[in-house]
Symmetry: C2
Subunit: 555 residues, 2 copies
């Protein structure tokens, strides 16, 4: 038997309704339960699923409607109690966080200065009116909501374009702006790959694979599943590509979508070709083809990630790594004599690779890359991959050396190699660093470990041991040498601070979250400057009435 | 003061001498110690380093020569005691392992049937004679020893070529044959990338990076630092490429070297172009250029690894994964009705990707890929990335389904997603598998986790949870779908068992280790069929006399 219950004027977002639904489903005697706000569309769903109750006739979008299939006559009473308990729980939990809150846009705007992004997750039918207001306050929009009207979507996007803003979405499931995850997103490494994608899990899969490989993401922007339709014409896609083209932290641009309308696709491809950066395009389902100048094509999401990772690693080392060291480098730079790089290698080919990458610097006075596996160092003693002695001597010698700024070295593990090279070199590096720091100086040690987790020395343990000693550990020898090169440029004054695009991507995020409070909480916990705008449908959810009220307000 | 000590007829390899050296250096009163076998070359080193003692005048290559710098008159006596202790320790340790041993090649050949590889690490001056004997017994050679004569190297390599064998080295620091690490090598994943490289750490760096990325190595063959010289002409390089070209498990071939002699390089490049497989070449230090048909060029060792990984992943899933499932698949194949694939997806784009990769099969009766995020499944209930309900129902339904052989699904983690989807689906999968197995049946569940280690659900924990439930977890959704495709081919009888080259790469290794016992022990612990041939210089190390003796033996 279907029974209905209506709780007036208690608007809840869909996540809370789901939590409530889970709670009620667990109750003894409940066969099935369905909970929605009393919008006309939702009432239709109740009817179509045989869960409608006459109680719902007068319900409006601000009212919680609960439909239960049960034989127990007392059930509605128990449910009503549970519901009250749930709502009071919610409000006590909610007031426990320091999340700044507002009940109107005006209220929200008073609590945050110059917001640059609004996250919108209210029911789709109300997005257009709310979105226009937000755009007019010069905020970029990330619209999680779906079921928006085509014309409304286009109008919002055109308005954004005219104002130099972007609308991500609607139906935008995921995004990452300056490392901040929006909606359904993963915690990925920061890096030099920017992503534009239509839908959610495509971006999630590509960004996660890149991150697991060791690469990183600058920004990932969703544009919504219909942006590349002929009607919308890729308005947001092109703006997103412009954003990434102007962002100095983005060196490789990835574009992911299902095959779009032919004319739209051609304009996207043309744009990608003149974007001035390496680009990877995936039109899922199309035949793959060879690269056209800067534009590479991929066949699957994995393929896209692997290709972007490969191309991104061809670039110089991720600039973020130099920035991490900036304070130490500025100390070193104060001492104008301290300008050399030393390399202490066990592996001959690795030493050779470092020499090539550092070729601009290694012929300067005081600079040298030593292959301690060369005959002159191994006569009568074991190879430096086994015996740390010669390298320990070199490290000790740094105490009295006032010129060396950077030291790179390798740690080749595996069968035959020392069982703990990091443990042998580490204490001596630590001692040098402590000595230098006592004297107000510093040296940057950079190393990579060549080997795997299954080697007896265990890759991650050797990395950890080196990091404990104060070494900056890079994932490969080439990355070590590239970082050393960037540092030498920095010390020479040739290294440029990279200025990002002055828009959204170059700024700290200042967010108004309109809708799902769980999205807001995530950002709050990540220390993002945020106001939670607890939107509820005004005027009983009647849109005409809402617009009239809006006009009256604006007088 | 320099004192000398000679211990006659106790040949020790260089690793043992190093261990001894470490022990003696630790003794109180010892300023410096140098230990070598009494070869003419070693005596020169003693002289050049000021460590020569008149005691060494009559020493031969079978005698341990110890030179000590000390002021203590009793030191030689203490050292002599330590030495005896060390030697008796060694022999007791050595007899403790079940390693098969021989003191001559003839003895070794009696203890192993049809050996196909000899690992040679005796002093370079003795390699030629020993190597010829080994080649004549139809063994491929891996020569770790260095200091070989150019003409001798060439003669050995030509002899090998004429016999359909290969000489890896001399001065070959690393190799991996059929997953077995030789000399200095890392424990890497098995996979479809074959490597040919001149020297040691180049191969180690590339194979380790590939393995850390999640790719795998079929074989890695070192050819020695001089193979690409004009004198040697790349004899071994070309044979190694032929070996890999004929090896069905190798789909991408990597070639690493310093820039070789121009003519040799041209012949290698020509060979790589007609090899019939995707190839990546690194001539370290040369300008990079665009791909020429199947041949791609890389710029650094890391770049080589990333490019090879990317290209290797474009191939169908690594066949080894199907072989791992072979027993279960053969059980499934017995039931001729069980031929369908189901996909249970939360991510829409992931479902779309699976459909594309499985396009040959999904339109067959009983096959379907369901996107549970589609409107028809989410009406009135949360998204399947949050709510496992719809997928649990689908999994439960498999109990009564006798047609489904393979099920693929996704597990998208990160912000917004279920906190433990693997924990929700896992028990139901386990139950289905237990039910099927009780009835003598099986189903293959394949999944990937989309997300990272830093996501709140933790990538590796979700993988572990799924594996515990009996799911085969692949690294990406594309790999899942590719594996499902291969399984469908297998069940249709279209999947070919791949026959490898009948030579070294296709066979189990049967090794004679000539020299460093530590190399032998490593292989012994890896369960490689092996005889340790404890080579010592006969005839007091006099090569002319050795050859005469050899001739007399052969009469």
């Amino acid at each position: 038997m279907i029974s209905g219950l209506v709780k007036r004027n208690t608007y809840q977002d869909s996540v809370n309704l789901m939590l409530l639904s889970t709670k009620l489903t667990e109750m003894e005697g409940v066969r099935k339960v369905s909970i929605m706000m009393g919008t006309p569309a939702n009432k239709d769903i109740f009817r179509n699923t045989g869960m409608y109750s006459a109680e719902f006739d007068l319900a409006n979008p601000n009212d919680i409607c609960i439909s239960v299939d049960t034989d127990s006559p007392d059930m509605l009473k128990s449910i009503s109690e549970k519901l009250e308990e749930f709502i009071s729980d919610l409000s006590s939990k909610s007031s426990a966080t320091q999340l700044k809150k507002a009940k109107s846009l005006k209220g929200a705007l008073k609590k945050i200065e110059d917001p640059n992004l609004a996250l919108v997750s209210i029911p789709g039918e109300y997005v257009f009116d709310e979105g226009k207001k937000l755009l007019n306050e010069n905020m970029n929009l990330f619209i999680f909501s779906d079921n928006m009207d085509f014309c409304e979507e286009k109008e919002l996007k055109e308005l954004a374009r005219d104002k130099g803003l972007i609308v991500m979405g609607p139906d935008c499931g995921t995004g990452i702006i300056s490392g901040v995850p929006l909606a359904f997103a993963n915690v990925v490494n920061k890096g030099n790959i920017g992503i534009v994608g239509a839908s959610g899990t495509g971006i999630q899969e590509v960004s996660s694979i890149i991150s697991r490989l060791g690469g990183g993401i600058s920004h990932a922007m969703g544009i919504g599943g219909r942006d590349l339709s002929e009607e919308i014409g890729g308005i947001s896609a092109k703006i997103a590509l412009d954003y990434l083209a102007n962002d100095k932290g983005t060196e490789v641009i990835v574009f992911i979508s299902k095959p779009p309308a032919e004319a739209v696709k051609n304009s996207i491809v043309e744009k990608l070709k003149v974007i001035g950066k390496t680009a990877v395009a995936l039109f899922l389902g199309e035949e793959e083809k060879g690269p056209e100048d800067n534009l590479h094509y991929a066949a699957t999401l994995e393929d896209t990630a692997n290709l972007a990772f490969y191309l991104s690693r061809k670039k110089s080392v991720y600039k973020g790594r130099v920035k991490e060291l900036e304070e130490r480098l500025d100390l070193i730079r104060l001492n104008q004599r301290q300008k050399s790089v030393h390399g202490y290698y066990g592996g001959g080919t690795l030493a050779g690779e470092a020499k090539l990458i550092l070729k601009k610097h290694i012929n300067k006075p005081g600079c040298k890359i030593i292959d301690f596996g060369d005959d002159e160092y191994t006569k009568g003693r074991p190879h430096p991959m086994i015996d740390p002695g010669t390298r320990i001597d070199a490290i000790k010698g740094l105490k009295d050396n006032g010129e060396v700024a950077v030291v790179i070295f390798d740690n080749v593990i595996g069968y035959g190699s020392s069982t703990d090279m990091a443990g042998s070199l580490g204490p001596h590096i630590k001692e040098v660093l402590e000595y230098k720091r006592k004297n107000g100086r510093d040296i940057i040690f950079i190393a990579s470990v060549c080997g795997t987790e299954d080697d007896v020395q265990v890759y991650s343990k050797q990395v950890e041991e080196l990091e404990k000693a104060g070494v900056t550990v890079m994932s490969t020898n080439a990355q070590c040498a590239k970082l050393a090169h960037e540092i030498m440029e920095y010390l020479d004054g040739d290294w440029k601070h990279e200025e990002s695009y002055s828009g959204l991507l170059g700024e700290d995020l200042r967010v108004i979250n309109v809708g799902l409070e769980s999205f807001g909480k995530t950002l709050y916990e990540l220390d993002v400057n945020l106001v939670q705008y607890n939107w509820t449908p005004t005027a009983g959810g009647n849109k005409d009435l809402q617009r009239m009220l809006q006009k009256l307000e604006n007088i």
